[in-house]
């Protein structure tokens, strides 16, 4: 099923786009698995995702840990730790 993936801050810059629509295989059921699958799309993806400890994620606009499920999700965002305020 089509999934919108959003990137922010240096993740966005490293990958070179802020948004892509992908169709991961059915066995990709968590954020971590999605990141592993996306890492194969290009060297830029692989480099952006090299250090998982620096990545945070949201599923359908809610912050989640990387082992959270993406089953049924429409939008996943991958980004560095937040620094607002």
């Amino acid at each position: 099923m089509a999934l919108t993936v959003l990137y922010f801050a240096w993740v966005r810059e490293a990958i070179g786009t802020g948004e892509e629509v992908v169709t991961p295989p059915a066995e990709v059921t968590t954020v971590a698995a999605l990141i592993g699958w996306l890492a194969n799309r290009s060297d830029a993806h692989a480099q952006a995702f090299a250090d998982r400890a620096k990545l945070r994620a949201a599923v359908d606009q809610g912050f989640v840990s990387l082992d959270a499920s993406i089953v049924g999700a429409r939008e996943v965002a991958i980004f560095p730790p937040v620094t607002g305020g």
Partner: protein, 145 residues
Amino acid sequence: MIRVAVQREPIDLAAEIAAAEGEGAGAVATFTGLVRADDGVGMLELEHYPGGTEAALTRVAEAAAARWSLLGATIVHRVGPMTPGERIVFVAAAAPHRGDALAACAYLIDRLKTDAPFWKRETRGGEAQWVDAKDSDDAAAAKWD
């Protein structure tokens, strides 16, 4: 009674406070964060997650309203480029009594720092760099758990 805004325009403090006071409160506590001029930063840019950021700020404000007796909770956050001395963020809590207003105001800014998707990029001497998250922010947010 909850007002959340993410905007590129400068924050109009007088208008925001007047709106917060207009709730008929006896106590209004506010916090304003500004771009510090003291560490060589020439420009600060704020990126956000359109839709996701507003949803996160609304959850923070609703959590404050559920926890304290509030008449109003306001969060206004600026995005885009800004320079030292400009306001980045303004939060306000209006309540019948001061204890609720003061605690809710501190909660709003502490949780916003960790629970809302914003990213800062500083430019110093022409060189831009993404700001690292601070452990102290996680600690400040966690004290409300």
